[in-house]
């Protein structure tokens, strides 16, 4: 995973609450076995009409929005299906952070795993950012090290789990870190009750 320190760039406002992962990346794109190549299908049903033609005005079809780094959305972003493809699609399109009043638990976890920065700010601050984001050239800075978001006169601090922050800043691989606890895992395994199910006999 690449380290995440500062995300700086333009924004895209998506003023809707409860945006589910089925909207972010519809199921017909989940049969791929790769981690990449989802960006062009981001928000497919909102970006294309029934015949597959681009929907005018949706940000994925707006040249002025190309290159944006931060998505600003409503409450409970990423609810529903656990598909990590949703995070991959958002990153693949070019976003490096999502700002919202709240995130669904699984989506937030998946973002941390893939190095997409989910930033929770109070609803009023998100509304302010959304208004600023109407200007496709407005620049926002999300600084993970200082845990602040800056956009023009707006400056807001955000909370993030310190363990996660540290891992994101260093771009560390979770499996490698966990295996430093190999001895503890083995000790745990040695005392598990014998009746617990196994799919095949060892």
């Amino acid at each position: 995973m690449r380290p995440v320190r500062v995300v700086q760039g333009t924004m895209v406002p998506l003023p809707r609450a409860d945006i589910d992962t089925d909207q972010i990346i519809p199921k017909q794109f989940l049969t791929r076995i790769e981690r990449t190549g989802y960006g062009e299908f981001l928000f497919w049903d909102w970006s294309r009409d029934g015949g597959g033609a681009p929907v005018d005005g949706f940000f994925t079809n707006d040249p002025a929005r190309r290159g944006a780094k931060v998505l600003v959305a409503g409450d409970n972003f990423g609810c529903g299906s656990s598909r990590e493809h949703a995070v991959w699609a958002i990153q693949d399109w070019g976003f490096e952070a999502v700002v919202a009043p709240s995130f669904a638990d699984i989506f937030k976890g998946n973002s941390y795993q893939s190095g997409l920065l989910p930033v929770e700010l109070p609803a009023e601050t998100v509304t302010e950012l959304m208004m600023a984001a109407d200007d496709p050239n407005a620049i926002v800075t999300v600084d993970l090290e200082r845990q602040i978001v800056i956009c023009g006169d707006l400056q807001a601090s955000f909370e993030i789990d310190p363990t996660v922050r540290d891992r994101l800043l260093k771009g560390l691989d979770a499996i490698g870190l966990t295996m430093e606890h190999e001895a503890a895992i083995s000790a745990y395994e040695a005392q598990r009750p014998e009746w617990l199910p196994r799919s095949v006999t060892e």
């Binding site: 409450d75 966990t178 606890h181 014998e194």
Partner: protein, 465 residues
């Protein structure tokens, strides 16, 4: 020492190291074709192995056809994805319930029916409906693909300690009101974000009175309230379901397990971070009218007006949902015509669900113009239904009788609902485009779906005769 909840007891006994976040040991890792390929390729790329293949079980369910599946999966990408799972399981020594295996089925149906799912366990799967397994008094939750890779490599997972929420369902569930109506009623109460950051324990007289399959329906949709997991304390109903299942403990081990399982229930003096009460006697069959599972009303009610919502965001969301669903405020729910009926999914694809649907259908015909489909949750459910003659009842009525899989619940396979058409569905999500682009989903119980198939519109199954 203060009393502890079921959740706290299971959490504490699975901590390998750390506090918050804690590294939890995973007793059972369920795997399917859609969320695992990138996890396996990550392992291969780093030269890692699966730490405990015998604590891992794989099945094929999400993207497979429910007809003629032994011929060939037509979609080349789905076929490649299924073949990839086969290769990954073979290479890493993981048991796979392949398409020719009589145990194949939806991951959250096959775990319990084979006795893998047991009280007190930590269970994960790259699927948000893993909360289903909480019905046994297990801590079970959905994870993403990077976490799937982590569990494959380490048999553990890092977790922040969630908060606890008790949902107390008091009184008795009325006749004709299903477990599905109970969970839809709970979701209407707590909303689609009410459970965020929490693990729910469903409690109370009405919950104790549910069968195991009904409990699975309730726990299954915990994620629809945003909860990390949902669980129900194990009791004699749980033990009776488990006894004799292929992977359940046997002989002296069964007795030891029983003693242990009885000790993990919530202590009388334990407290929850939040408590919500729902009255079972006031529950009625529910039908969803909108595009999230919190947007439901009683079948006897009408489509609500966005003006009924005080919160401006809820109002916008309702207006947008009504537009997508092509519904007018004030329309009686029983006046809504139906084009499709889907009975199946990890929510309502078990044998008791098919029995409920068959009871409604027996001796009747599916309304002209309605396409009605039954997709058993597993091939064992299918075999049992055929033994009981349920398939005949459905076929005679004009239902299509399929092989097991997730099917129209998420429509990754060919069972897609066409744009603009309306489906009464026993599944769990009514999001825009969930069952197909432009498709309109109404979430209901199996009996309500079956009755809608016969009538061509919704009816109150409490009046069924």
């Amino acid at each position: 020492m203060p009393g502890r909840t079921l959740f706290e007891k299971i959490w504490n006994r699975h901590v390998v190291t750390g506090d918050d976040p804690a590294l939890l040991f995973v007793d059972l890792h369920l795997v399917h074709e859609v969320t695992s390929p990138q996890a396996f390729s990550g392992l291969d790329f780093n030269g890692r192995k699966v730490r405990r293949p015998e604590l891992t079980v794989a099945t094929i369910d999400h993207a497979i056809p429910t007809v003629d599946r032994h011929v060939m999966i037509r979609d080349p990408q789905s076929r490649k994805q299924v073949d990839t799972l086969r290769q990954n399981c073979a290479r890493h020594g993981i048991t796979l319930f392949d398409l020719d295996d009589p145990r194949q089925g939806i991951v959250h149906v096959v775990g319990p029916e084979n006795g893998f799912t047991q009280p007190g366990m930590v269970i994960v799967c790259g699927d948000s409906h893993t909360s289903t397994h909480g019905a046994f008094g297990a801590l079970a939750f959905g994870i993403g693909t990077t976490e799937v890779e982590h569990v494959l490599a380490t048999q553990t997972i890092w977790q922040r300690r969630p908060k606890t929420m008790a949902v107390e369902v008091d009184g008795e569930l009325p006749l004709g009101v299903a477990a599905k109506d109970m969970i839809l009623g709970i979701l209407a109460t707590i909303g689609v974000r009410g459970g965020t950051g929490h693990v729910i324990e469903y409690r109370g007289e009405a919950v104790r009175g549910l069968s195991m399959e009904e409990r699975m329906t309730v726990c299954n949709m915990s994620i629809e309230g945003g909860a990390r997991a949902g669980m129900i304390a194990p009791d004699d109903t749980t033990f009776a379901y488990l006894e004799g299942r292929p992977h359940a403990p046997k002989g002296a081990a069964w007795e030891r397990a029983l003693d242990d399982w009885r000790s993990i229930t919530t202590d009388p003096d334990a407290t929850f971070d939040e408590v919500t009460r729902v009255s079972a006697p006031s529950l009625i069959p529910h039908v969803s009218w909108g595009t999230n599972p919190g947007q439901t009303v009683a079948v006897s009610d009408v489509v609500p007006s966005p003006d009924h919502f005080d919160d401006p965001l809820e109002r916008d969301s309702a207006a947008r949902a009504l537009e997508y669903m092509d519904l007018r405020p004030g329309t009686p729910i029983t006046d809504i015509p139906i084009d499709h009926v889907f009975v199946g999914s990890c929510t309502n694809g078990r044998i008791s669900d098919l029995r409920e649907a068959a009871r409604v259908v027996e001796g009747r015909k599916v309304r002209d113009g309605v396409s009605a489909v039954i997709v058993p949750g597993s091939m064992q459910v299918k075999a049992q239904a055929e033994k009981e003659g349920l398939d005949r009842i459905f076929r005679d009525a004009g239902f299509s009788w399929r092989d097991a899989g997730c099917s129209s619940c998420l429509a990754m396979n060919p069972d897609v609902i066409p744009a603009g058409e309306r489906c009464a569905s026993t599944s769990n999500r009514n999001y825009e485009g969930r069952q197909g682009r432009g498709a309109r989903t109404h979430l209901v119980s199996p009996a309500m779906a079956a009755a809608a198939a016969i009538n061509g519109h919704f009816v109150d199954v409490r009046d069924w005769r």
